[in-house]
Amino acid sequence: MHTSGVRGPFDLPGALKDAGLVAGIVVLLTLGLVGFRVQDISSGPALVTRFDDVAAAAVLAFAGRLGIALLRAQRPLPVLVAALACAIGLTLVLSHSALAESSGLAQQILPFASPVVNWTIALAAWVLGARAAWLLWHAASPLDAQAREAREARMDRLGARVQDWARYVGPLLLGIAVVLPFLPWIDRRLLDIAILVVTYIMLGWGLNIVVGLAGLLDLGYVAFYAVGAYSYALLALHFDLGFWICLPFAGIMAAFAGILLGFPVLRLRGDYLAIVTLGFGEIVRIILLNWYTFTKGPDGLSGVPRPTFFGLPFSANPPEGEASFHSFFGLEYSPLDRIVFLYYLILGLALLTNLFTLRIRKLPVGRAWEALREDEIACRSLGVHPRNTKLTAFAIGAMFGGFGGSFFATRQGFISPESFTFIESAIILAIVVLGGMGSQIGIVFAAILLIGLPEVFRELNQYRMLAFGLAMVAIMVWRPRGLLAHREPTVRLSGAPRSAAAPAQETRA
């Protein structure tokens, strides 16, 4: 691939025309929605114009496109100079924004009003500059098709290796997860994020049974999550049952919901199934929203009981004559105790899901799921009943969703239909697919990436979901089969070689 370092002729007018075209499209895209803003004032809606933002976007698009064209044609030097000048200038102005603002410099130099967008542009300039520098050094284009294929193959090998290492990486991650609450720099906020991430890992593993193993595209997984949460909340509020009794009930309820939905629709294929499950998720949410006498509708259910440690509550002042967790064990009361307990609770549930998945893949039913995913007709001719087999996968996936839901209810203490919108299903599905379908460890990384990172950067509040959507697109365009996509056959004929390279070869075609 180092042969591509030869400098071809550079078509400057062509590149300028192309960059101009891109800038024109950016103008058309931004003219309406960026150029005007509908402002609500007392006398009705009014327009505010921001044409300077449109102009800035167009100029940046022009410069960026031209820079990429130059890089493709092996001319990194001008790009390096321009990009570094931009990057250093922007970074300096942005990091001394208070000073620059007072002198009126900021308004003249910064392309946009929002600092987040400006920082993003500075970052892009740094990346472009780094690319150019790398090119100067190595004299090989990172952008051509050959390099892209080489990168794909590299990532495939990495995926295979991570799968191979899973038996070492897994316990290592598990070790980190177990000692996490006792690490010195862990505070309440980080622990809350960890709980959230592990919750999504568990849901991802649960959905993986349906999507990854059985190959059924489920866009309404959140419905089972909701069924689990409401089952626990309603049972606990009406019958005064504890968390540990309700947990299996919630799982069973969710599994029943799965069977109820699955029975009529599981003979549909692919996208149809996806859209019906999406509809089902919405139906569940609408019913929760409107059946006021049963679910309290949009007001939600509050006062959902907290979990207890074998009957010992985590409260500072337990009722007279009863012990609480800290008094029973003679510890100092700490509000963190409950959070740590919740963390271990969800970690335990997640590990249960994982263990279950790993073991069931070796059972006939698990093998039947994977076989069905690959070829339904072949399965039918071999005597596997497609609907019943899919139904088990659906029900079991739903059951784990239900467990996750009752954990959610007990953690929040309050649930309302608002927590169970389609976006949740989309996020869980994104975790499964981005991680590389069927890869248990990939789901862990995807959940950390998609849930953990945005939570850490909560200050970027309003840009969070924007970046989330963009990241989903970018990762998929970059690695269409998922970050760590690599599938080892679960069962092999005795004596068959363990090859790491073969699957990568075959799936790239």
Partner: protein
């Protein structure tokens, strides 16, 4: 009788809007076999561009309603179709030969992105617009329920019928239409006989987006208020309509849209308003169980 007639008119108007969005779904599904999940957001962007154009025209001082409507219609269709084009170019084209699930995830990602993009730029509160087209006709004044058929509803129905006629001509008579139908049958074969497949797919997205833009404009005029979240539900219902009519079939999408609109109107009138969305989804499930290819769809034969 009067009440029934009124619901029929309301349902037809609603159905026209769903039908226009459904065409975009059905065409894209027919040509590249993916659910363009972000199509609902394209509709929403169309609605936002409409309200912006209306307000901008107000600033410039174009007061004559038919002229304003015409300018808004053209501007919205043009600008929204650029979004449709860019969506395909950026998010779907690189994934054309990838697993279908990848394309679906990108589509969901794009949908989330576009929703937040609009929310960020235009704010999360709903945007109201004063009624532009007012007045109407009233029937059965003497009966217990007077039926009103507003000029706006007439405009929506007539405009949709006109667009449908134009669109049918486009698909049946023009070179692009021929290429589009050929690509629906077989992408690889079309490329072999010299059809520019990339261009055809791009144009498919552009046409779908411009029809969705018209639907957005109609939604804005009909309800008078929009927010950044309208794309999701309308999109899902329009997809339901496309499936109901038989996905891949353009007349089917229109028929499905009309049926969904009528079902929704009658359900809210005679049963309950709260569960009108449940009705649409329940119909979808029933259709898929008893007639999985939809009303006008061709049965697809599975080969081993």
């Amino acid at each position: 009788m009067g009440y029934f007639l009124q619901q029929l008119i309301n349902g037809l108007t609603l159905g026209m809007i769903y039908g226009l969005i459904a065409i975009g779904y059905t065409m894209v599904y027919g040509i590249i076999g993916m659910i363009n999940f972000a199509h609902g957001e394209i509709f929403m962007i169309g609605a936002f561009l409409s309200i912006i154009t209306f307000l901008a025209l107000g600033l410039v001082g174009v007061g004559w309603v038919p002229l304003a409507l015409l300018i808004v219609l053209v501007a919205t269709m043009l600008l929204t179709s650029v979004y449709g084009w860019a969506l395909e170019r950026v998010a779907y084209r690189p994934l054309r030969n990838s697993p279908r699930l990848a394309a679906l995830i990108t589509a969901i990602g794009m949908s989330i992105f576009l929703q937040n993009y609009v929310q960020l730029l235009q704010g999360a509160r709903n945007k109201p617009l004063q009624p532009v087209v007012t007045g109407g006709m009233r029937f059965l004044e003497g009966g217990e329920f007077a039926v009103s058929f507003s000029f706006l509803q007439m405009l929506i129905i007539l405009l949709t019928l006109g667009l449908m006629a134009g669109f049918t001509l486009l698909i049946n008579r023009t070179a692009f239409g021929r290429a589009q139908r050929a690509c629906q049958q077989d992408l690889g074969m079309s490329a072999l006989v010299g059809i520019d497949v990339d261009r055809t797919i791009s144009l498919t997205f552009v046409t779908g987006a411009s029809l969705a833009a018209v639907a957005g404009l109609m939604f804005l005029l009909n309800y008078g208020v929009i927010d950044f979240y309208i794309g999701f539900l309308a999109g899902v219902k329009a997809f339901t309509a496309a499936v109901l009519g038989g996905i891949g079939s353009v007349p089917g999408a229109m028929l499905g849209g009309l049926l969904i609109g009528l079902i929704e109107a009658f359900w809210s009138a005679y049963f309950s308003v709260e569960y009108k969305d449940v009705a649409a989804f329940a119909i979808l499930v029933l259709v898929l169980i008893f007639r999985p290819t939809g009303l006008l769809g061709k049965p697809d034969v599975e080969k081993v």
